[in-house]
């Protein structure tokens, strides 16, 4: 479920977001629930996972957010994304009461200067308070998003960010390298600086992985880490679905679904989306056909991000034999009885290795 509303659009963001449309929260939730109703026949009675992402879902007026959550089918894992400054005790309790099992906090950094570069509204204190509120409300599965490679972030600042995150003992961490995406305000302001720092920041990825695995986290996906726990699998079950090539239904503006051989993308325009659903019609969609070869290429690209072997049978058609020989020869990937997996060094070069392996 895509909830696009944000209090402020950060300079580096290239997601579908909407600011300053507070009056439309109710209409949007109406539309989402109507779209859900239209697609209901595609879904099982009880879902494996639900993910409410954004935007900033917790910027949505709380009664509307609660109304949305109440209208969702039952699900084993329900994640809601939130920005720290929006998580009050009241919000935390309301989410818990509405059946949310997991909260993903967009922290990004703990240093005021770096947060300013990213144009984030939360301060370090907000993060600690948000985690406390969530724990108090009974959440036992919290994920923190961090960004590294921020202009001005030296190795010491990186270490401080990681230490501050670990101190909060989250069940899950997502760590992304800051990308200067073309056309964003951030790239305009900082692209040049990022390029200058590229060499100095080359080993940040390795530092992140080393720090988190030393702290007992499992590096289960390229950018994702979860606490080792004998009783629970703390990986993001929802995102695992993407990486394992499962079907999914996306609702809301700009939302993407993959159902069998078809991928569809809803219109990113709020007005058109609201108008279509107000008239009882599905929103305009872009369709993409996924043939077997494409599906296998995606399986390869996504599956190799995980720390578990990818069964060869699933990617036979997508594999370049010469490329496979090259990367295994270079010690970047290995074939085992269970399938193909990347070595540690291979995982740092996962993108390039995938290009080699892909036919």
């Amino acid at each position: 479920m895509h909830l696009p509303f944000c209090a402020h659009r950060c300079g580096y963001c290239d997601f579908v977001t909407v600011t300053g449309r507070d009056g439309q929260h109710a209409a949007y939730v109406d539309a989402l629930l109507r779209e859900l109703e239209l697609e209901r026949p595609l879904l099982a009675p009880a879902l494996e996972t639900t993910f409410v992402g954004g935007g900033t879902p917790t910027v949505t007026a709380l009664p509307e957010l609660v109304r949305l959550l109440a209208g969702l089918p039952r699900s084993h894992e329900v994640t809601v994304e939130a920005n720290p400054e929006t998580v009050t005790a009241e919000v935390a309790k309301a989410l818990r009461a509405a059946g949310v099992s997991r909260v993903s906090l967009g922290v990004q950094s703990f240093q005021p200067e770096l947060l300013r570069v990213l144009e984030r509204l939360a301060g370090p204190g907000d993060v600690r308070r948000a985690v406390q509120h969530l724990r108090d409300a009974g959440f036992d599965n919290i994920s923190l998003d961090l960004i590294y490679g921020i202009p001005g972030q030296g190795p010491a600042e990186l270490a401080a960010d990681l230490a501050a995150a670990l101190a909060l003992e989250p069940e899950h961490l997502s760590c992304y390298e800051l990308e200067a995406k073309p056309g964003t305000r951030f790239t305009h302001a900082w692209g040049e600086e990022l390029r200058r720092q590229a060499d100095a920041m080359e080993d940040y990825f390795e530092r992140v992985v080393a720090t988190l695995t030393d702290a007992g986290y499992r590096w289960y996906e390229t950018a994702n880490f979860c606490r080792g726990d004998r009783t629970r699998d703390l990986r993001s079950q929802h995102n695992l679905g993407y990486w394992l090539g499962h079907d999914y239904l996306g609702l809301g503006i700009g939302a993407v679904s993959t159902i069998g051989e078809e991928r569809r993308r809803n219109t990113p325009q709020l007005g058109r989306y609201l108008a279509a659903l107000a008239g009882g019609r599905a929103p305009e969609r872009e369709l993409e056909e996924l043939d077997a070869a494409v599906k296998q290429r995606e399986r390869l690209l996504l599956g190799l991000r995980l720390d578990e072997p990818l069964p060869l049978a699933a990617i036979e058609q997508a594999l370049d034999a010469d490329g496979l020989a090259r990367v295994t020869g270079l010690g970047l990937a290995e074939r085992t009885a269970a399938g193909l997996r990347l070595t540690e060094r291979g995982r740092y070069l996962g993108g390039a290795v995938t290009v080699e392996l892909m036919r």
């Binding site: 999914y248 290429r297 996962g350 993108g351």
Partner: protein, 596 residues
């Protein structure tokens, strides 16, 4: 036509000094073309020529002026085509020497003016662009008159753009250029000053009848190559083709030969009649040899047959182009091509890419070397990869270079020429401000970005031209490049031993910048024989991942990787290393940093 009423002339000018505009204006004034039909710059028929402001192939147009028949023979304007220019000039009795009144004489003007003087042509000096505010017609007139030993008042001052005084140019041609003086009753002799190929009619010869006459259907023969054919059609250009029954002494026109290959009809050869054969050919025929060589390879090796067909077709129209198959371990199957010079190479490359839609890798150009091997045998080497590692003696081609610059750049030019193993020959002041320098330089140094350097060190003010001046011994060595331990044949080069270390170092530095970081360390070495003279390392990448991959992004991320995969196919695989095409031209940049 009565020979006394014929005037044959060319226009000599530096690029952009107004040759084509003047030609257009002449056609207009003589009503050969109505202003309405006038396509600007009619004589330049190829798009490429039009874009570059140069003329590759000569043509001839006949116009009438005050009871006279004037034949304007167009000449190629560039150093690479000196031989063709000289043949065009040989077909004339006079030449207009056009100088931009704002710029003065340039090296190219000089070179062609000397050619015209050597050919005994009457030169009519013209100062053009006098309408421009920055024009200094008096200074230009004095400069030109000095060059010709003429009086500045004889310089016709015109504006080809506005048409001002162009009639005076035509009058001057009639008055000053001598009429042809061949023997109309002698066995026929015609000079082939150019040729072109037409898909339907075969080879078209552009000729100047010197003696006697040809008639339609007559069996003709070239005297140097011995090729025979029937003159399927005779005629001249107005500029459209006008067939005639005969071409007579003094006239300029064309012969439709029906031949299928331009190489059987060489520029400079003499045409005669089989039935009334002349005893001696006209002087000046030379078998032009290519001096600059480069490897041409299809980026996609599947395009090899297309490249072969394209070269075959280009060759039909370009007798100077030479090619033979070449196999490179780095670049696969391609052709080693020979060109008259760098511009000729650039033109061929562009035509292949534009007209034949080919995607090419062109290796850095090199010159022809003469090599004496241990066994005393001399051989000519066109490819550094075939240059023997052990040689007794080597000779390389030299040129006599002519450079004109404002006096404040004389030092910079001398410095550049010294760096490039030049020998100073001569210096003179053309005017108080401008200096003409001549140097003897190895051609191999010129193909190595000399011209770019000259332009940049003189802020674009230098003009440059050269003439081949034969082979001379040189202390040259073959330098090989090894990437990840493997010799990359397409990067081998021949360097003077004194420069081997400096240039070897620059080359590996350049390659380190050009070769993207791979998934492992890549050493790059330059070596003479087994001796490594320079080394650099492209450090392995440490990270390369897509930051996020979730539901909404998957198509985009997949396409990103698919595009990277396509990009890799455009790179050449040297062992396990991907080398981008630009790297194969890195050699071209090693001349610059090297100051001894």
């Amino acid at each position: 036509m009565d020979q006394s009423k014929i005037r044959n002339f060319s226009i000599i000018a530096h690029i952009d000094h107004g040759k084509s505009t003047l030609a257009d204006r002449i056609l207009e004034i003589t009503e050969a073309v109505s202003a309405r039909d006038m396509r600007a710059q009619l004589l330049d028929s190829m798009d490429l020529e039009r874009e570059r402001g140069i003329t590759i192939k000569a043509q001839a147009v006949r116009v009438s002026w005050k009871g006279h028949e004037l034949n304007l023979i167009d000449t190629p304007g560039h150093v690479d085509f000196t031989y063709e220019v000289s043949r065009s000039l040989q077909a004339c009795e006079g030449a207009l020497l056009v100088v931009d009144a704002a710029q003065g004489i340039e090296a190219q003007t000089l070179a062609n003016a000397y050619l015209a003087i050597e050919n005994g042509l009457e030169i009519v000096p013209v100062a053009n662009k006098i309408d421009l505010p920055q024009a200094d017609p008096d200074a230009a007139a004095i400069e030109v008159a000095d060059l010709l030993g003429d009086d500045p008042t004889h310089v016709v001052r015109i504006s080809a753009k506005t048409g001002m005084n162009v009639d005076q140019v035509l009058d001057a041609i009639v008055e000053r250029v001598p009429a042809p003086a061949g023997d109309p009753d002698a066995p026929p002799r015609a000079l082939v000053f150019d040729s072109s190929y037409d898909q339907y009619r075969g080879v078209l010869a552009f000729v100047r009848m010197v003696d006697g006459s040809f008639s339609r259907r007559e069996e003709l023969q070239t005297m140097a190559t011995g090729t025979r054919f029937d003159a399927e059609e005779l005629g001249f250009f107005t500029p459209t083709m006008m067939p005639v029954d005969a071409l007579t002494a003094g006239e300029v026109g064309y012969v439709v030969t029906g031949l299928k290959d331009v190489s059987s009809l060489r520029v400079g050869d003499t045409l005669t009649s089989v039935a009334r054969r002349a005893s001696d050919p006209l002087p000046g025929y030379k078998d032009v040899k290519p001096m600059v060589f480069a490897g041409l390879f299809p980026t996609d090796s599947d395009e090899y047959p297309e490249l072969r067909d394209a070269l075959e077709r280009l060759k039909l129209n370009d007798g100077a182009l030479f090619y033979e198959p070449e196999t490179s371990t780095a670049l696969g199957f391609g052709f080693r091509c020979g060109f008259l010079g760098l511009l000729h190479m650039e033109i061929v490359r562009e035509r292949l890419e534009r007209e034949f839609d080919l995607d090419l890798i062109v290796t850095a150009p090199n010159v022809a070397y003469r090599v004496k091997e241990r066994d005393g045998e001399w051989l000519e080497v066109h490819n550094p990869a075939e240059f023997p590692r052990e040689v007794e003696e080597v000779e390389e081609p030299f040129v006599k270079a002519s450079i004109i610059v404002p006096k404040e750049y004389v030092g910079a030019v001398m410095e550049l020429c010294n760096e490039r193993r030049g020998t100073f020959d001569h210096m003179e002041y053309l005017s108080p401000e401008r200096v003409h320098l001549t140097y003897e330089l190895p051609l191999g140094e010129i193909v190595l970005d000399y011209y770019d350097q000259l332009k940049s060190r003189t802020r674009g003010y230098a003009s440059f031209d050269y003439d081949l001046a034969g082979f001379k011994a040189g202390n040259l060595a073959r330098v090989d490049v090894l990437v990840a331990g493997e010799t990359v044949d397409a990067l081998s080069l021949i360097i003077h031993r004194d420069f081997a270390y400096d240039r070897g170092r620059l080359l590996v530095e350049k390659l380190r910048e050009e070769i993207p970081r791979q998934m492992f360390d890549v050493p790059i070495q330059a070596a003479i024989g087994a001796r490594v003279i320079a080394r650099e390392t492209v450090k392995a990448r440490r990270k390369d991942v897509l930051a996020k991959c979730y539901g909404g992004d998957i198509s985009r991320k997949r396409k990103l990787l698919e595009n990277q995969k396509k990009g890799k196919k455009r790179m050449k695989q040297v062992g396990a290393v991907e080398v981008p095409q630009e790297a194969f031209l890195a050699v071209l940049n090693i001349g610059q940093g090297q100051k001894s």
